[in-house]
Amino acid sequence: MSPLAITLRDTLQNEAKQFDEMVDLHLDVPWRDFLRAWGELRADDLLKRDEAGD
């Protein structure tokens, strides 16, 4: 897992956040790098929602 993906994972494990809030925390990161890291979380099924989607 990339360092950015680890950072994203740790942030979300600490506190649930909206996608745009996660983006706001990493505006200095090139968009494509952010997408790759986000994709790593998806691929590892680390992004969770409850039945209501929250």
Partner: protein, 450 residues
């Protein structure tokens, strides 16, 4: 000569003074906000991190630009759509196509190579919002529709397949056999093709032939590289792949919906991409929500209303799907009325799939003037006689009032529909509605006294 496509339409907008070109570098996270501030369509010519790409948005977020696409006056769009859609032209398959100048398969597939925009607060991810999606069923044939895609991984997206549609039906049929459904997604096609894809055609009606009818020539298609489907040859970008046989089980959304509401998370299938093809210098299309979607919806809804009125043997004079009701949920029509036809017209218009509220007036009312419409409703309507309510009709999930969250995964909501017959009631003489008129109005002019 190449068939007219997305970039030729951009040239049409440019010639009409309806395209703003932005040359300064723009980040994909900024594009939606910037495009939403422009009264014209926008072409971003330099995208940070995506040197091969340009991005266009707001192409049809006004009736004026839609009229340019249709090649007619603004108040004739629905009638033009109706006329041309009555003469469908089957597509033709060509051997080579600009949309396949670059081909990425297998390990080369990487959706992060596309400038997926982050469009709204609360969106569940970056989205491709303006798509021309093609699928096929062995029994029912080819279908085209428009479905949003949410970025998930470099090879997968979410896809909103909640609402009833032919592709949802095809997917369910594949799912019943435990199979995936091959699909192809074209991005950056002419607005007429988008209009055809948006049309809620009966399942035996080809949206591809409808696109040909709207164009006045066969839509050129090219065979996909990895799935047994064809896509518009002049598209800017194509994603080929399959809807995985997982049913409605993956979270998708929220997304800024065409209802102008930031929607809920939905449970949807996953689209796995097997191949990306594109032009060498592609222009990504970012359909600007909600207005661009709503303006595309309006003529389709209006044409469906005209068709419903004609089937009911009612003569329409004008029709309007107000963009405030997102081009879907309301229809207002004026008619040349014979006794009883106000009610017939209301019933006919309420039969249009998503339409929830209907007002029908006589032909002396300018339905584009809200004050005239209010006047007609105020003085020609008795609610106990002229309002028609239908319960339990098909609905869209994104209408909060249908409480779709109570239905569970894959559930389909229903709604009540309301129609108002605001035509002059039978038995009331038309002379009772003689409008006030200033004495000497036709003989004196204010500017002569200034």
């Amino acid at each position: 000569m190449a068939q007219t496509g997305f970039r030729e339409f951009l040239n049409d907008l440019d010639r009409a003074g309806q395209l703003k070109k932005i040359t300064k570098p723009v980040d994909p996270r900024q594009m939606s906000a910037l495009g939403s501030q422009s009264p014209t369509a926008t072409l971003f010519e330099t995208i940070e991190g995506y040197p091969e790409w340009r991005v266009a948005t707001g192409l049809v977020s006004s009736r004026a630009r839609l009229a340019i696409a249709m090649g007619c006056a603004e108040n004739r769009i629905a009638f033009e759509f109706e006329k041309k859609s009555a003469n469908p032209i089957d597509p033709v398959v060509v051997e080579s196509a600009p949309c396949q100048e670059v081909v990425m398969q297998g390990d080369e597939v990487d959706l992060t190579s596309i400038p997926f925009p982050l469009m709204h607060l609360f969106d569940g991810g970056p989205y491709i919002s303006g798509t021309f999606a093609v699928s096929r069923d062995a029994e029912y044939g080819s279908n085209a529709g428009s479905y949003r895609l949410m970025y998930r991984t470099p090879t997968e997206t979410g896809i909103d397949l909640v609402s009833p549609s032919d592709m949802r039906f095809y997917y369910q049929r594949a799912l019943d056999k435990g199979e995936s459904l091959p699909i192809a997604i074209a991005v950056g096609v002419h607005p007429l093709d988008m209009l055809a894809a948006s049309y809620k055609a009966p399942i035996d009606t080809s949206e591809l032939a409808l696109a040909g009818g709207l164009r006045g020539e066969a839509l050129e298609m090219v065979k996909c590289k990895t799935v047994d489907l064809e896509v518009p040859a002049q598209a800017e970008l194509v994603l080929e792949g399959e809807l995985l046989p997982i049913g409605w089980s993956a979270d998708e959304g929220p997304f800024g919906e065409f209802s102008q509401i930031s929607g809920d998370v939905k449970w949807n299938p996953i689209f796995r991409v097997s191949c990306i093809t594109r032009r060498k210098d592609p222009i990504f299309y970012m359909l600007q929500m909600p207005w661009e979607n709503d303006w595309l919806a309006a003529p389709v809804t209006e044409a469906a209303g005209l068709q419903a009125l004609r089937i009911a043997s009612v003569q329409p004079v004008d029709i309007l799907a107000p963009v405030g009701a997102c081009g879907y949920w309301a229809l207002v029509a004026s008619i040349k009325k014979r006794p009883g036809e106000g009610k017939n017209a209301v019933a006919a218009l309420l039969s249009v799939a998503e339409v929830k509220h209907v007002i029908v007036t006589d032909d002396d009312i300018n339905i584009h003037d809200p004050d005239e419409l209010d006047w007609a409703v105020a003085f020609r309507v008795q609610a106990d006689k002229d309002a028609i309510i239908i319960s339990g009709a098909r609905a869209k999930h994104i209408d909060p009032s249908v409480k779709s969250w109570e239905l569970g995964k894959g559930g389909l909501p229903t709604t009540a529909k309301l129609g108002i017959d605001a035509t002059i009631p039978e038995g009331v003489p038309r002379s009772m509605y003689r409008r006030i008129k200033n004495y000497a109005k036709d003989r004196v002019r204010l500017e002569d006294f200034e």
